[in-house]
């Protein structure tokens, strides 16, 4: 590995920026994601920061089942994130459709629309679970290179 690559790899692991996207969730997971970033849980200590635009993000954090109206917006946002990009599906709905499975406007989990790297189950996923999922994803990235 070249030195430049090493630096980039190190930077990526130390400052994974998130884009949070609600794909039709009930809001519970979204609030828990925010809660994970506030003082009690403080996900930011891993260098994680919530960003406002897909073009700055490394990790797309999705919550909720994919509704028909949101699907092409989700794909559009996924395409705007620069490579390499990772997707985390937070909550039971994002994993499989959860309690909304089978409703007419719901397609199912996030993997119905875009590839997913990590699933964090729970209804809603607790902040502890979200931290655990993020750390596992970072571990995976560390080992992959």
């Amino acid at each position: 590995m070249k030195l430049v690559q090493k630096v980039v790899h190190w930077a990526r692991l130390k400052s994974p920026w998130l884009l949070h996207f609600n794909t039709g969730a009930c809001n519970a997971c979204d609030i828990e994601i925010i809660a994970a970033l506030t003082p009690r849980f403080d996900l930011e200590r891993f260098g994680v920061q919530l960003k406002g635009t897909p073009r700055h993000a490394d990790i797309l954090v999705c919550s909720g089942p994919v509704t028909r109206q949101i699907k092409d917006r989700l794909i559009r946002i996924y395409e705007q994130i620069p490579e390499p990009k990772f997707v985390v599906a937070v909550g039971s709905c994002a994993t499989s459709g959860g309690v909304f499975h089978g409703l007419y406007n719901v397609l199912g989990g996030i993997d119905e629309a875009i590839p997913v790297d990590a699933f964090i189950p729970g209804c809603p996923a607790s902040p502890q679970a979200i931290i655990d999922g993020m750390v596992k994803l970072l571990k995976k990235l560390e080992e992959s290179e």
């Binding site: 884009l19 949070h20 996207f21 609600n22 039709g24 969730a25 009930c26 809001n27 519970a28 997971c29 979204d30 609030i31 828990e32 994601i33 925010i34 809660a35 506030t38 003082p39 009690r40 919530l50 960003k51 406002g52 635009t53 897909p54 919550s63 909720g64 089942p65 509704t67 028909r68 109206q69 949101i70 699907k71 092409d72 917006r73 794909i75 959860g98 309690v99 909304f100 089978g102 409703l103 007419y104 406007n105 719901v106 397609l107 209804c123 809603p124 607790s126």
Partner: protein, 586 residues
């Protein structure tokens, strides 16, 4: 003679053909069915002469050969008269009631999209609630509709496909791209905010037309989170539905489940034990506390006062621990079941809860002091997002948004449910009519909620937790109301004697409030948009929204994120001397 009987007499005197047509379910719930040709005559009399001047919602039902339309109207926010009429499915035409209630447009669009009614005279606007590329002649809430019919019709969920919609005289639908413009005149810019706001229970897209920095028009597109829960409720049993409606919203989860079980209990005629009602009320108030604290933080974030966000969310965590201790869950509590509650509070927990409430009360007093003394905060919030009392009444805003404009309405007091009839509290109102007023009302409500929680914990009645509910609920219908943290939540449930409900209709408070946002933004600056939208508390959070700015004169378009807009708004005020930097608030 009771109030309900008086109303009945008045209607019968005026309309002879309505003799014995009015059904008094209980003192506060009246039901009346009128044939279509006489409907507007009766409707006009009830609204203008009998002063049923609040529209709770409109429910559409499938009645076989007909569509049923139920207009839920309330008198002084206390008594609800549900006025029903039928239109044949071959020609389901009905006149719009937007001349009486402008806010009815959203409810009428629901009937148009979901049931295929033809409502004449809804003002133009984007589609709601179905997706833009939903095929024609597919009405999901009709009984003969199956999801397979969607696949046969194709076209749904296709990416980038420009499908043209039937633009009839009754409903004007936006184009699939989110850049539908409101007033496309020269020199104006239109910025679409959205379509997706993460952490919203009802994500929405605002198309904001600008002249310079001034907002000249706003168009709201909602329905991105439309999942089809109402249809889902019909396909599942009552027991499953309690958990499904709980997940309509992850912040007001208890509100929706309580509202639903209340309606089912009313139909089944169940007498819920007192202890269960008190526990429900306790969870409701704790939910209100966590929701208002959450709002306070988000509002702080939107105006650049992030310290407040971190403080309130830190405090909120101690309450989340209490909720987890009582119910077993942090968010979707699952405490309700039909006929009572699932878990008891044991006496060892009570001092623990009281300790947390004392601490939170102390903190809230400090936030009230900040709101009263912190000049920057007052300057940022005063005079922003003004909604006059007349406009609240006209547009049908609910909850703290209405109470901040001096409209003294609260379902907890006006139409008591659960244990509220036995508890003492005051309804907090304010006459600032702006975002500052909404902050003052929510802070005041926090203090009331602490007092309510103490009253409940100190006088928790003994007794059983639930009564046995039948698996099959006898045929009937009920309307249930609930004061959620954001305003009045309405559920209509109709049963048909089977294990599954026939129809469940939900009207969440944000749908009533979001329509007032365009009024609040009129003639204000772009910089006010984040806090005004956040102030109706659509469970707003601090993450991204893409905003595209199109300059119509030059035809250029550039992309702005929500964060940029927020920073723009903070800078805009900073240049005018309103700044949180360099201040010590602690």
């Amino acid at each position: 003679m009771s109030e309900a009987e008086k109303i009945k007499n008045q209607i019968e005197q005026k309309f002879v053909f309505l003799k014995d047509a009015l059904r008094i379910q209980r003192e506060k719930r009246l039901w009346l069915e009128v044939a279509k040709d006489k409907f507007f005559e009766v409707f006009d009399f009830i609204v203008t002469q009998l002063d049923f001047s609040i529209l709770n919602t409109i429910t559409g039902t499938d009645e076989g050969a007909d569509l049923g339309l139920i207009y839920h109207l309330s008198l002084k926010n206390q008594m609800v008269l549900s006025l029903k009429t039928r239109v044949p499915k071959e020609k389901p035409a009905i006149k719009s009631i937007t001349s009486y209630f402008p806010a009815a447009a959203a409810y009428e669009r629901e009937i148009v999209d979901l049931l295929g009614a033809e409502v004449e005279g809804i003002p133009g606007g984007p589609r709601y609630p179905l997706p833009d590329d939903w095929p024609q002649q597919q009405y999901p809430l009709r009984k003969d509709w199956k999801p397979e019919m969607l696949e046969q019709a194709g076209k749904v969920g296709m990416i980038g496909e420009n499908v043209q919609y039937p633009i009839g005289p009754t409903h004007i639908i936006s184009q699939p791209s989110s850049f539908t413009l409101v007033h496309q005149t020269k020199g104006e810019m239109v910025i679409p905010v959205g379509p997706q706001h993460p952490a919203l229970k009802e994500p929405e897209s605002f198309s904001v037309a600008l002249r310079g920095e001034k907002i000249t028009g706003v168009q709201v597109r909602i329905g991105y989170n439309h999942r089809g829960i109402e249809k889902g409720c019909e396909q599942r049993s009552y027991i499953q539905d309690v958990y499904l409606v709980e997940r309509i919203c992850g912040i007001c989860s208890h509100s929706h489940s309580t509202c639903f079980v209340q309606a089912v209990e009313e139909i089944a005629g169940l007498q819920v034990p007192k202890r269960a009602l008190y526990i429900r009320t306790l969870i409701a108030e704790l939910e209100r506390i966590h929701s208002h604290l959450l709002w306070l933080g988000v509002a702080g974030h939107e105006i650049g006062f992030d310290t407040l966000l971190m403080y309130t969310w830190r405090d909120r965590e101690s309450l989340m621990d209490v909720l987890a201790m009582i119910t077993g869950n942090r968010v979707n509590y699952g405490i309700n079941m039909i006929g009572g509650v699932r878990r008891d509070i044991d006496s060892a927990q009570i001092p623990e809860i009281l300790k947390v409430i004392d601490k939170l009360e102390e903190q809230t007093k400090y936030y009230i002091q900040v709101a009263q003394e912190e000049t920057t905060l007052i300057q940022r919030l005063s005079g922003v997002g003004v909604l006059s009392k007349a406009n609240v009444l006209h547009l049908g805003a609910v909850g703290p948004t209405a109470r901040a404009s001096g409209v003294d309405r609260d379902v907890r007091r006006d139409d008591p449910y659960a244990a509220y009839g036995e508890l003492s509290f005051k309804v907090v109102t304010d006459d600032h009519c702006d975002v500052y007023g909404r902050t003052v009302v929510r802070l005041g409500e926090l203090m009331e909620s602490y007092s309510l929680a103490r009253q409940i914990l100190n006088h928790l009645p003994e007794g059983p937790l639930s009564v046995r509910a039948p698996r099959r609920i006898p045929a009937g219908e009920a309307l249930s109301r609930y004061e959620a943290p954001r305003g009045e939540d309405v559920h209509y449930v109709r049963s048909n004697g089977t294990e599954n409900p026939e129809r469940v209709k939900v009207r969440a408070p944000t749908l009533a409030n979001v329509q007032a946002v365009s009024k609040m933004l009129e003639d204000r600056y772009l910089a006010d948009l984040p806090i005004v939208v956040a102030a109706i508390d659509p469970c707003f959070s601090c993450t991204d929204r893409s905003i595209q700015v199109i300059d119509l004169e030059q035809g250029k378009s550039n992309l702005m994120t929500w964060e940029k807009l927020r920073n723009y708004s903070i800078e805009w005020y900073r240049k005018r001397g309103v700044d949180f930097r360099g201040k010590r608030t602690v």
